[in-house]
């Protein structure tokens, strides 16, 4: 998402927390998704085994990524799919535009793709005079509203049906206001139907790309993905280079993990496996299929054994659903394409710490995200890693903007903290001071922040050390 204003996380948070309707919408949606996920993964032993399997598949693929991508390209090419590579978002957008221009296309119909959000593709194409239509219902709603997705899987989750009714009434000609969900669905369906047949190019994402067969797997619930990939004469699939897996037999466990984690479904309504353009004698399907493989900073992440694990992500969004912070502020507050815990980890790596390092502060490290991640990404460890990289600590130092979140006052505070906690005698003095004047400290800095919703901490007149001495507890 190209930002028009500089990212101001604090202001975004304040605005989100003040929006009571947003809070209600998020809470009810997230509660529902959590309950459904729990029901579909009721067997915890089975889930544990499945997560281990999913993690192993992704780690194996990442460890052999160049080889698998080469294999994928060869297989796709042999199958008649044209493969394109892009190192940057600009190259990727240009490639898509070139394909459209070669076919004199003026309308693209799009299935849901977070990578296309990462590319800012809609804005780019519209600036070039192309029409772009989102066909996933949630994406369609927010495109009408002129907003970016607020969630990886349910992009319009921040809106309730009344708000959607108003958007439809305002933005779709001759549409009456209705809160009836079936009627709203019918309005969207009718509007989109026409466009599927006039779009010259269909675009989709890719959930898994299978190297050994050259198969592009696409998971969806509305059938719009199938329409986008079969009705227009040209289909462009876009994928981040981490989406490749080696074998077809590795897809079922990942698919089960993805649908269960994302929406609490055993399987989605549609599961598309795309292996080639229309073959001679076939009656439908696109005449051309293009696969665009984008790097956009991923290969740099791959180099670091710890950060590499962030590339295991299958974009199920369950870390968002379980995050007490995301549930309260929603996706827009995070200011970039990927919100929630996974966003806190990958956005600073994509955008640099100077721009996006503050995101890592939006976690109490409660570990709910790490607990539910279907491919066992150690999200809390990686959030901590972003904090280290931000303040310029350790031997790590490979994320762009290393050390740019280092503030002198904070550095001094931690140095002082380390001093009184390294040396027991200093610690005793510190505790003595706290017990004497701690309860009369002025409400400045951290204490001011603390007391916005709480009474000030009270320090005991005698420390545990003093009480232990009085009780004569042994030292050794």
């Amino acid at each position: 998402m190209p930002e028009t204003q500089p990212f101001d996380f604090k202001a975004n948070i304040k605005k989100a927390l003040a929006d009571k309707q947003l809070g209600k919408n998020l809470k009810s949606a997230m509660d529902g998704l959590r309950v459904k996920r729990r029901a579909v993964f009721a067997d915890t032993d089975e889930l544990a085994a499945l997560r281990a399997q999913g993690e192993a598949v992704k780690q194996r693929a990442l460890s052999r990524l160049p080889e698998l991508l080469t294999q994928l390209e060869a297989k796709c090419t042999a199958n008649g799919i044209q493969v394109h590579w892009a190192e940057t978002v600009e190259e990727a957008n240009r490639t898509v535009l070139n394909i459209m221009q070669r076919h004199d296309a003026t309308l693209m119909v799009k299935g849901k793709s977070m990578l296309s959000e990462e590319m800012g593709l809609n804005h780019f194409l519209e600036d070039q005079g192309q029409e772009v239509l989102e066909t996933d219902l949630g994406e369609f709603i927010i495109q009408l509203a002129g907003e970016p997705p607020s969630h990886i899987i349910v992009p319009a989750v921040h809106k309730n049906k009344d708000q959607i009714a108003r958007i439809f009434q305002e933005k779709i000609p001759d549409t009456p206001y209705t809160e009836d969900v079936d009627a709203l669905n019918a309005i969207a369906r009718k509007t989109l139907r026409q466009k599927f047949f006039s779009g010259q190019v269909g675009l989709s994402g890719v959930n898994f790309a299978v190297a050994e067969t050259g198969t592009l797997c696409l998971v969806e619930n509305e059938g719009n993905g199938r329409m986008c990939t079969t009705v227009p004469p040209v289909h462009i699939a876009v994928m981040g280079l981490e989406k490749v897996v080696e074998k077809l037999e590795e897809v079922p466990p990942l698919l089960r993990l993805l649908t269960g984690s994302a929406t609490g479904q055993l399987i989605t309504t549609y599961f598309n496996m795309i292996t080639s353009p229309r073959r001679p004698g076939e009656k439908d399907g696109p005449l051309e299929v293009h696969l665009l493989i984008l790097d956009n900073g991923r290969s740099a992440i791959l180099d670091d054994p710890e950060l590499r694990r962030s590339l295991q992500c299958i974009r199920c969004g369950t870390c968002l659903n379980h995050c007490p912070v995301y549930v309260r502020i929603g996706g827009h507050a995070y200011g970039f394409v990927y919100p929630g815990p996974i966003g806190e980890v990958i956005t600073p790596q994509f955008e640099g710490l100077e721009k996006a390092g503050d995101l890592a502060s939006a976690s109490s490290l409660c570990q709910a995200c790490g607990e539910v991640c279907p491919v066992k990404i150690p999200l809390p460890d990686l959030i901590r890693r972003m904090r280290r990289e931000g303040v310029g600590q350790g031997e790590d130092g490979c994320v762009r903007g290393f050390g740019t979140k280092r503030h002198l006052l904070e550095v001094l505070a931690w140095k002082a903290w380390a001093l009184v906690n390294r040396y027991p005698r200093l610690n005793a003095i510190n505790n003595l001071v706290l017990s004497r004047v701690g309860n009369r400290m002025p409400r400045l800095g951290p204490l001011a922040a603390w007391t916005t919703g709480r009474t000030a901490p009270r320090f005991a007149p005698k420390s545990l050390h003093q009480l232990a001495d009085e009780e004569g507890l042994p030292h050794a």
Partner: protein, 252 residues
């Protein structure tokens, strides 16, 4: 992380690591835990060199400062006694994060062995000591708040509740959304005060809904946060550390 931990036989002596919050704000909780351990026949050693586990700096990205402080703790507990900690969060730091913090460094082997000896107080009382309690207090309704690290890192929530359920006249009312963070998160509470406040407001609202007279917890960070907000909102529910609560109930 720790779902199938194997526990040692009853030792003669244990170390007690008080934690920095107990040290200065909740010393009675620490004393109660040590007295309960002594009642089990243990020699309770309280090394005076101990300070803080280092988690505040570690979670804020200041790993080097955390390591400096962690080394003080490694030196303070030299013998092979179990180290009992009245906090799931500080125990989790020492048990799960020390080895990570010292990975590839000379102290790694030492931290790995040290981590093996670290126990959260209620898990130690239940699994190692098999402690049983006789409730001497009047009937009381309480609710339980588990810290995220007690629940997800140390996985001792059931141990804490099992101890509470031994108290015959204490009615334990389960908290709605008990697996959700109270919003403390150490420096999170001061770096993101607005989100943290929103979280603790929801938590104290759930506590109020239980109708309990007290909220019992095993972590003083959560207690500081929750009781601070309860007071701020004038909700008359008292917060107490589980060790102090059990001591009070068994010595009424």
């Amino acid at each position: 992380m720790d779902s199938k931990r194997t526990y040692p036989a009853k030792p003669d002596s244990v170390y007690f690591f008080g934690t920095c919050l107990v040290e200065s704000a909740y010393p009675q909780a620490g004393m109660a835990a040590m007295r309960l351990l002594k009642e089990e026949g243990l020699r309770v050693v309280f090394p005076r060199q101990q300070t803080c586990c280092g988690q505040p700096a570690y979670n804020s990205g200041f790993a080097e400062e955390a390591r400096q402080v962690a080394r003080t703790q490694l030196a303070a507990f030299p013998r092979d006694y179990p180290v009992v900690v009245p906090s799931g969060s500080c125990a989790g730091m020492m048990r799960h994060h020390y080895p990570y913090l010292f990975a590839g460094r000379p102290e790694w082997e030492q931290t790995r062995r040290f981590a093996e000896r670290v126990f959260e107080f209620t898990e130690f009382m239940r699994h190692v000591m098999g402690a049983t309690f006789e409730d001497k207090g009047p009937p009381l309704r309480v609710t339980w708040h588990s810290s995220c690290h007690a629940m997800r890192e140390m996985q001792v929530t059931e141990d804490s509740k099992a101890l509470l359920r031994q108290l015959g006249r204490v009615e334990l009312i389960e908290l709605e959304r008990e697996d959700e963070c109270c919003g403390f998160g150490g420096t999170f509470a001061v770096k993101q005060p607005a989100i943290s406040s929103a979280m603790v407001y929801d938590k104290t609202e759930d506590i109020r809904q239980t109708g309990a007279e007290r909220v019992i917890a095993g972590d003083c960070g959560c207690l500081l946060n929750i009781t601070g907000n309860l007071e701020h909102r004038h909700i008359p529910v008292r917060g107490q550390h589980i060790a102090e609560f059990i001591w009070e109930r068994t010595h009424a």
